[in-house]
Structures are given as C-alpha cells and as structure tokens.
Symmetry: C2
Subunit: 411 residues, 2 copies
C-alpha cells in the first residue's frame, strides 16, 4: 500500500463517521447501488483524535477536506446528441425541430420590492434559455455556449448588439414560456431572438434580439465562421424576427461625450461580476448604466426598452466610467408630480381629465448611455446603450383633480 | 359613449396594429379562445398619426401604455388547497405529507467564474424552496410566505437565526434536489431546515437550518403565535434536524467592537436590495459581510459554513457598517503559498509530500462578522455572523516538490 492509498484508507473508513454521526455506516446508496462515499470530509478532529498518530497530528490544527471526485461531466450530464425534450429544464424543441421553448417560473428573488421581475432577471433568463437551447441541441462543447467545432478552433461567442423590448414585467410566481431561436446575421454572424410569453394570459410580455460573432479565445481577435462551425449551427437557422425593424440596418447609438449630465467614475468589477467566460457579465454592464440615473426617476419610471452596442471587452482589472444623458433636456417629466403631468396632457389635448382616472397612463423618455474604460491615454468604449422609459402614473383619486389644481398647472 | 369608453375604443381597435404590424388582426387566442387583447400598447404614433384628432395630438410627444388588466391572482394562481405535486415548479410533497422536495437545475447566472454556484445562489434557492413549500401547502396568503391566518392578524415572518453548512458547491447545469421541512421552535417560533442533494451522485452538498418568529407588520413588534396560525402550521411540523448540534442551545456569536481588523463604512441599501417585504434582503446582508474580507483571501478560500444571528431590521434609509475579524491573528494561512502550506503540513506530521500530490487538501479559518446601523447616537446591531472557510489547495505538479523547496520551508 502506498502512502497515498494509506492516507485515503484512513480518511475513507475511520473518520467519515465523525462528520455525520447519524450515518449508520459508510456506504451511500445512489440509485439503489451501494458505493463508497466519494466526498469524505473530516471535521472536528481536534476533539476526537487525541492519539499521536501522524494523521491525527496533521489534523490537530486544521480541517482537512478530501473533495468529491465525481467528474464534472457526470454531474452536468451535457447531452452529446440532440434531445427533443429536456424534462428537468422543462424545455422542448419547437419550430419544426430548430427552436427551443422553456417553461420558467418567476422566482421570489427575481422580483423587486414591487413584486415584478427585475430587468436583470429578464436578461438572466434570456442567457439561460439561449444556453439551454445549445444544451439540448447536442452541440454544446466545453465552455459558455461554444459548440464542439468552436472549441476545436479555440473560438468563443461574443455579443455585438442586444435589444430588449419590455411591454410588461412578469410577477412573482407567474409561469412564463420563453421561446428562442437563431438565424444568420451577415456572413459570419448569428442572430438570436427571444419571445417571453405569459402562460396564463398567452400575451407576449417581452421581445429580444441579439447579434453574435466569434472571437479567438487566445488572440482576442474576431474570427470568420469556420466551415465546420457553419455546418454545425446553420441547420438551426430560421428567418424569423422577434422585433420588427423599420429597415434592415438598425440605428447606431450616438457616442456620449465627457460632459454627459450623469456620470459615475471608478467603477471596478468584483470577482462576483465575472461569468464563466471570465468576462464582466452583461447584466453588470446594465446595472452600471442604470446606476447613474437618479433614484427619483427610477421610482417613477419603468424601463420599456434597452439597446446595447458592444465595442470591446472589459477585463477584471479595468476601471470603468458610466455616462448617461436624458433626451429630455429640461427635466420636465422628472420634476412634475403625477397629477400635474396627467392634467397637463389632458389640458393640452382638450381631453377631460376624468378619462385618466383609474387608468395607468405612462409617458416615454429616453436616455443615451456609455460605459468606457478610463485610466488609459484615451478612454476606450465598452458599450453604448439606449433606454426608453414609461412614466408610471398610478391611479389617483378624483378629488385631486380640482379646478384649483388645473388652474395651477395652466399658469 | 363616455370619453373614457371612447378613449379605450380608439386604443383597443385602431392602434394596436401599429405595435405589431405582423399581427393579422386584433384577436388573440388564449387556450384556443379568441379574446380582445388586454394589454394594448401603442407606439410610434408620431409617424402614423398626423391627423389633428385630440388622441393623435395627445400621443404626438408621448408613448401611451394601457396596461394589462389581468388580475395578479390569475397570473400567479396561488393554490387555495394543499397540492401533492406542483409540476411547473417540479415540487412534490414528501415526508408523509408534510415535507417538500423540489428539483432545481443550477443556472448559468447562478455560478461564478469557477462554474460553481455562488453562496448567494444557494441562499436564494433556500428562500425559493421555502416559499414554494408554503405555496403548495395551500396556506399562502398575500405576502412573503405569510399564511392566511397571519395575514388576518397582520403578521409577517422574521428570521432570527440561519445556519448553512456547505460541504460542496454545485456546478453549472447540475441537477439538485432541495428538501425542506418545518418544526416547532420553542413556544412561538418555527424552525425550517433544508438539505441540498445532487441528483447525479446522491450526495448531500449543503445543510441548512433557520429559526423564525412572527412580527406585527404595523407595530414592528414581535408577536406570540396566534392559535389560528398554530392550527394552520403545526400539522406540518416534524422533529428532524438537517444539522446535528452538540447541545440544544447553539453558541452565541460574540459582538465585534469598532476596532475589528476589516471594516467598511457608509453601506447604503439600493432600491434593488429590497425584497417583497420592503426589507433589505438577507442575501445583501451576506454580501456586505463578505465584502470586507480581502480579495486575496477570497481567491484562496471557499466558504464552508455561515451562521447569522439577526438582531433588528434594516430599513431602506439606514447607513450600515460592516465589520469582520479573522480568528487567525497572524495571517499565517493568507500569506503562505499553497505549496509551502502543503509542504509544511507534511513535514510537521512526518508525511511524505507525495500523499498530497493530485489531491485537494484544505485548511480551515474562521471569521466573526457584524453589520450595524451607524449615524445614530449609538450603533444598532442588525446581524452578527460567523463564517468558516476551507483553504483551497489546488493540485500542483510534482516538480514543485523539490528538496530545495522543502529545505526553504524548514528554515
């Protein structure tokens, strides 16, 4: 017996009981088959082991863990062939064999204080269903949505554009159906779209579209789509759009200058902001963008659309600046009270104010955003953004609409 | 026709098409039944409506949303009677009709850069499965896990103690089985426990326990358990513990003083940190606690247990201070390299260094934590915490273990 075997034997027999005193013996039944535990963790040894054996001394001052040796592949169980149904993810292949639909329940921690899903949660669900689409396709290699062919070519996916249109926010416990599919985008790109529908009402709450290209993981340069990758993914392409655009080339977002109305400096990625690709995650970008917007605006408005144009990667050691500029130069919508805004709209349009009573009428406003890396000789753009917002006007009781109020607004 | 009806008619007929030009007509089929859309959103009106009608003018400069009027209750569909199975949440009643088990897939955004689930994700899953247990029980009233009887008595749940023991972290895509159940805690409290098990390996990765009492929502004072609430929940109580304690009264965490080694000041809750109860969420507390710990420590260690003792609520306007103090006063574990630590342990215990080659051997270290509200005449404790950590020693190649290295350590 080698020292290593001796070490393992000691740990796997005698001491396992210490951690789980309620375990009757060492065997663990997995699917009815008795096997030796693969995760042996030994604690509280100080109290138990008072002998002078070298193992006992080794653990006197420390806690020793002998970690699970089950291979990650067995724990993940990524399919190697196309699956039509994924019962555990509640996913199913649709659209004649190429699209994917997943049933998702809005969880308690995905909603904010108003019980509706946060934008972050929606973006997370888009990412999750996209990856699960690749997962059931049998194409998923080692990595973050990369196919086997991409892994062989050391390629990863990079998003260049993302647009999300939120018509309505799901609420806690609401069951949603997320549909996603892919299509061609130019010669070397891929488009991925989503629809988020409420199962109970059948209504589409959100629509999203995105454009992806490939990057060499080592050189960090964009790459053409290799033929072997095209052969893998192009059979999945369909020509269907979640968001209809007026023309085929979407408007470019203007670049903000350093005199933007709202700015936040010295933003630094934390360890927890990095995703499996070791990038700052998209959701963090959106958080940084929205953090510049004044609280009073966020309280009174709901985001109704967001467009992101990605320019370059943000690494874990970069220092980031977030700029935002509202279209509404005079801040009219922000400073006026809800009743005042409502009354003003009605007066301007010869509408009787009663039409608004009991209804939620909302007004739009837009922001332009920019995240850039600072501390270099020249700032480098990470992502440009554009958000539109709806003014939330809550139902107000009719007594507020006195002629005195109306008079005051008109002056 | 009233002005309001006129307004609604205009919006619900003519203009809905503008938003969805690909919709053939206005009817939407839900479960095969044709119905008028309840969510009518009108956009891009500026381009279309060039007439001088007052509606047209009202929308010239604004976007008007006429929101979904489907009742939240129809969208949530909270059961009013006990369900033995919840197919959409993948939950099932166990333990002779009183426990709950839910199948959960670890999602891509719930893992960190190392592809293992974050502590935050684990805490979120505990909260989610607890609420879903109440959901399927048929006891869920309006609120955040409160029963019908609690709602009638204006009571909410407040957690007083929480303990999580992480033996292993699930990885991306791993299918987990979360079991949870409740029991009595003293005369007026409730205990809730959890086990998180890997479906593939059958191993328990995490164990957790918590203690809850009731608080009057208005007076914010703790309350006795009313008889009608006891009648609702006590049939669900079982006497089973996820974590065995050496004695029945768990150790109290010592209070840190203002000279703790690591401190962060001026922490302020954001809107997004508030949960459905309008409280700063537990997960945020844990983030604040762990934020004080140096990055270099977090990189090399993995949290293996956390205990939280809650003292008072934190409101959205409070300013918080986070203090942390490691047990290890000389920072021995932090400054030494992995190889050096391994070799030292082996030398001290007369073990050949080869036994560690290819194995992950970890060392423990503990921290004491405190979150308190500052800016008052006297600081007020929110929560005391205690964490234990395992040193991650990654596999290192055998060439590192030269006698030169060993020699250097011994000096």
């Amino acid at each position: 017996m080698t020292s290593l075997q001796h070490f393992q034997t000691l740990f796997s027999s005698k001491y396992y009981c210490i951690r789980n005193p309620n375990e009757q013996n060492l065997s663990i039944k997995v699917n009815g088959i008795s096997r030796l535990p693969s995760s042996l963790i030994v604690t509280s040894m100080r109290k138990v082991l008072k002998t002078s054996s070298y193992i006992a001394r080794a653990t006197m001052a420390t806690k020793v863990a002998y970690v699970n040796e089950t291979l990650p592949s067995a724990r993940q169980n990524i399919p190697t062939k196309k699956q039509l149904v994924d019962p555990v993810r509640q996913g199913v292949i649709i659209e004649g064999g190429v699209g994917y639909r997943q049933t998702v329940v809005i969880r308690s921690y995905e909603v904010g204080a108003d019980k509706t899903a946060t934008l972050e949660s929606i973006l997370n669900l888009l990412q999750e269903t996209a990856l699960n689409h690749v997962w059931v396709s049998g194409l998923l290699g080692d990595g973050f949505g990369a196919t086997h062919g991409m892994v062989r070519n050391k390629l990863i996916w990079v998003v260049t554009r993302m647009q999300v249109q939120m018509d309505q926010y799901p609420i806690w416990g609401e069951v949603m159906e997320v549909e996603t599919w892919v299509g061609a985008s130019g010669k070397n790109g891929m488009r991925r779209d989503w629809l988020i529908r409420s199962q109970a009402t059948g209504l589409v709450y959100a629509r999203a579209t995105s454009t992806w290209v490939m990057m060499n993981q080592e050189t960090r340069r964009l790459s053409k789509m290799p033929e072997e990758v095209r052969a893998e993914i192009s059979p999945w392409f369909i020509d269907k759009k979640a968001i209809q655009e007026n023309n085929n080339t979407p408007e470019t977002i203007k670049k903000l200058e350093n005199n933007a109305r709202y700015m936040k400096h010295n933003l630094k990625p934390k360890r927890s902001d990095l995703d499996m690709n070791q990038h700052v995650n998209n959701v963090k970008y959106v958080k940084w963008m929205l953090e510049t917007i004044p609280e009073v605006f966020l309280e009174r408005h709901q985001l109704s659309s967001i467009t992101l144009e990605y320019r370059r990667e943000c690494g874990s050691s970069d220092t980031v600046q977030s700029l935002s500029e509202p279209d509404d130069k005079d801040g009219m919508f922000m400073e006026r009270t809800e009743e005042e805004s409502c009354i003003k709209i009605c007066r301007e349009n010869s509408l009787p104010v009663e039409v608004l009573q009991g209804k939620s009428i909302k007004f739009t406003l837009s922001y332009t955003h920019l995240l850039q890396i600072t501390g270099l000789s020249k700032s480098q753009e990470i992502v440009r953004g554009r958000t539109t917002w709806l003014r939330k006007i809550t139902t107000f009781p009719i007594p507020y609409l006195t002629s005195h109020n109306v008079q005051r607004i008109m002056l």
